[in-house]
Symmetry: C2
Subunit: 526 residues, 2 copies
């Protein structure tokens, strides 16, 4: 095991998900480790790039996430005896000495360079560069791909939902996420809660102390009924309903007795406008008389644009007719299988929703369930390696590389550029040729106003002092927000966004094409 | 905590994924639990159904899975002090007595009836019926949905892939799955392994003992080269290649030295027909001379139909020309982002693939990332409950129900029927009216030749003896295969499959519509 935690603040925790062990792997990583070991090649110094080939969700940007989990994985990398037994049984003819080798494995010879977590990233540019003994790095491929793929995909999905919802809206998540990551939670109830009530008679403890604690309303149920009658008797409000559902009213009243300061009601169990909204308003008005302020409503079905607009009108009507300040500002929450498209459609129709509960579509990344990162050998024993393919998008960019983001006059990022490790870095104010890695005709001169090196060292074996600290989630989140705001808007729009440019230096371009010609077989016509 | 493990074989393990705790939940479940508790309703006996509304992947069947994990969850259900602290902090105004209530919670008052795991199931028919104190059952909703949704979706996806691949093909998975579930693994190597070699000179230890252990070939590298020359000199085989890639040959030779009895080579790093296949055959022939039998090749890019067919021809050519028995039967494995559609397309074109590696598309359920199960209250305090919706597909079927599958003369399942709990069960040979739950005009008489009750008790609090045993995976798998084989073929076809019929008894139909009329608000025209 790696020696960790020598100074305070440098202890690296275990992976968040205890299922993430070295055995969360493809058999072929162990098969290869064995073959490398048999060939005496296991310690050859290799460099691998982890990158993706295409931005997800039809967009032109991706958010990089999952780095912290990768570093935790490295810090805690060790194979248990039970796991080694399983590997032995899975590899035909496996020699015992290989098991001893596995037993001694750790990540003290590994170096990981990565983009800062939360960064906006683009296809082909390495997110991580992993260096170390080839057999060990190979064992990192599957876990790293698993950790980066989903985290980056879901972070991108979340960013896209935030983008379409707009900054002012609230987006909600579940309890486990709240506990792990401090994401806002909002308590409400389900249809089952409403259905579980029959009538107001069920409510036994009817007393509610006022918000300031000075008085107690002994019969909150009667107060609610009085308020409902008040709405009913207001000529401009009563038009839409005659009688509301009594079991719903009982459920709302009961819920308000439990959460007088956090009353948020699901109003579509029976009929939103004929029952849910008037019932909610009756309870909210009763709470108001005791000094509480209701939070708002949740809509989980139907035409959310129409219903939210009608609900807002009703709330404003109450504010005006019954003279209740701020009643019109009641929070309207929407849930019901929302995603980027439905929120976008709501925006186009016009709506009054303040908060969106994005559930299934966020976590499953329903519209695209995988990012498809790859992990490619780019150098071994100081020899650059290229992976060819008939499909040019699948050709890998060889060499141990450095990567830079170049910014223009307006402050926007203009282009990412990859260079060989030993090339001089791009300089502010100096003209630089940026070339498409594979397309000869695509090239442009750039005079950067600012240059940012993208890959930083996050893991260097035992040498704690030489690497970047893992950042708190808040900093990662702030970086993400800042970088997204700093993108040129045409890269960000939902419809036909402009692809961000990714390039290589002239020198790297030439080298790629030299290698390509050398490696590609020459055809023969028969 | 529930008292478990009183007799051997009845101990229920912890959930496989340690992240599955009661806090893997939506806040609103705790909010509601608090509101039920405040209203003194927390122990009211409730019945919830867990079901889905639509079969996934454009098909007309679903495989039920995840039950074992639900039962493990029930058996181990307990909130830690830390979790209770978090809940307290998340609920505004939460009383300490509620925390005491949570501390004492277990599932000893819960009963769970479920379809047997691995069964073929259909929309609207309950997969689980959960009974117990309403506040506790509510806390099971989110974990159960999480455990059933993904497991059933991925099981259905796997079944669909098996269906389209055909029984005789091998489907492969990764090490973690192999260890957890005993799924077949097949070791091979990646492009990086091939790229990591430069030339045959790198191979230092060239000796290979023969399969029978009687002789040792001191220079396996030379033997491989001799075999390559043999292929090269055979007039009918050499046509497609002049010179093969030497680093690829070195990688294959080295891999064969590590796994002489399990040689499976990835042949598309450079060029499948011009380099990969001849190189593979050279190594396979060399192994053959020492009494080993190579396993085969893996194709990871390009036109898999064409390449597999050409590879097969080449292998058969070797068998014929060089007189090597069975060489033509070499196993051809395909990988490269395969899914149902691509395997189906391969079948239509004709191919020679023996084994498919289905990775990303299987586990992410790429073509449909969520099943969308729901958890609906159907009865509380012996009162049936219905959830209405303007969208008729979202109306729930009320009452504590029994469910049966009715089989016809040919042995196929004909229809599933739901009845009220106390209705007499359908009888073999007796005519029975099966009604569509919502569509008045859809109904049919059925005379079942066999009747199977679908819901069985898998959890009844502390009463171990009264419930079904959890089955080993093998039995679940066999049930699944048997039930799939027993479906009428038109339900199973990929294109325009016939929907399987799901019905309710005449009595339940009448009751649903009686409740519906009572609950639905009557509109007023203004």
């Amino acid at each position: 095991m790696n020696v960790l935690g020598k100074k305070p603040g440098r202890v690296v925790d275990k992976p968040t998900n205890p299922m993430v062990t070295p055995l969360l792997n493809d058999l072929y990583q162990f098969t290869m480790a064995y073959a490398y070991w048999k060939a005496g090649k296991q310690s050859e110094r290799s460099v691998f790039d982890l990158y993706f080939r295409k931005n997800p969700f039809g967009g032109e940007y991706t958010i990089f996430a999952g780095l912290e989990e990768c570093i935790k994985f490295l810090a805690n990398f060790t194979l248990t005896d039970e796991e080694i037994d399983f590997v032995r049984d899975s590899l035909p003819g496996c020699e015992e000495a290989f098991c001893d080798y596995l037993r001694g494995l750790d990540c003290s010879d590994i170096e990981v360079y990565a983009v800062s977590e939360g960064s906006v990233v683009f296809p082909k540019v390495p997110l991580l560069r992993i260096e170390g003994p080839v057999a060990v790095v190979q064992l990192l491929e599957t876990p790293f791909l698993n950790l980066i793929n989903y985290a980056s995909l879901v972070a991108t999905n979340a960013a896209r939902h935030r983008f379409v919802a707009g900054k002012s809206k609230l987006l909600l998540d579940n309890v486990a996420a709240g506990r792990l990551f401090g994401i806002p939670l909002r308590g409400t109830h389900s249809h089952a809660f409403v259905s579980s009530f029959m009538s107001l008679d069920e409510i036994v403890d009817k007393a509610l102390r006022s918000s300031d604690g000075k008085t107690t309303c002994e019969d909150f149920v009667s107060l609610v009924q009085t308020c409902l009658a008040k709405i009913q008797n207001s000529s401009s409000l009563s038009g839409i309903f005659s009688e509301t559902n009594k079991s719903e009213l009982a459920a709302f009243t009961s819920y308000a007795l439990a959460f007088p300061s956090a009353f948020l009601a699901l109003v579509d169990t029976y009929d939103v406008m004929k029952s849910g909204i008037p019932n909610f308003c009756a309870v909210a008005l009763a709470l108001n008389e005791l000094g509480y302020k209701a939070v708002g409503i949740r809509l989980d079905s139907g035409d959310l644009a129409y219903l939210s607009t009608e609900a807002r009108k009703f709330f404003c009507g109450i504010e005006r007719e019954l003279n209740v300040p701020d009643f019109g500002k009641m929070i309207i929450t929407a849930s019901n299988d929302l995603n980027e498209e439905t929120v976008d459609a709501l925006n186009k129709q016009g709506h009054e929703v303040d908060a969106f509960g994005i559930g299934t579509n966020l976590v499953t990344c329903y519209s695209q369930a995988a990012l498809g990162c790859v992990f490619k050998l780019v150098e071994i024993n100081n020899q650059p390696r290229i992976k060819l393919s008939e499909d040019v998008t699948k050709v890998s960019i060889p060499c141990k590389k450095r990567t830079y983001r170049l910014f223009g006059k307006e402050g926007y990022p203009l282009v990412d550029i990859m260079t060989g490790e030993n090339e001089p870095p791009p300089k502010v104010g100096e003209r630089l040729l940026c070339r498409h890695p594979f397309n000869e005709s695509k090239r442009a001169y750039v005079v950067p106003q600012r240059v940012e090196e993208l890959l930083k060292c996050y893991w260097r074996g035992n040498a704690d002092e030489a690497r970047e600290e893992l950042e708190p989630l808040k900093e990662i989140k702030n970086r993400c927000i800042k970088q997204l705001e700093n993108m040129r808007p045409d890269h960000m729009r939902r419809l036909n966004p402009t692809p961000y440019k990714v390039s290589v230096s002239a020198k790297l371009y030439d080298f790629i094409h030299f290698l390509w010609l050398n490696e590609a077989p020459v055809g023969e016509l028969h």
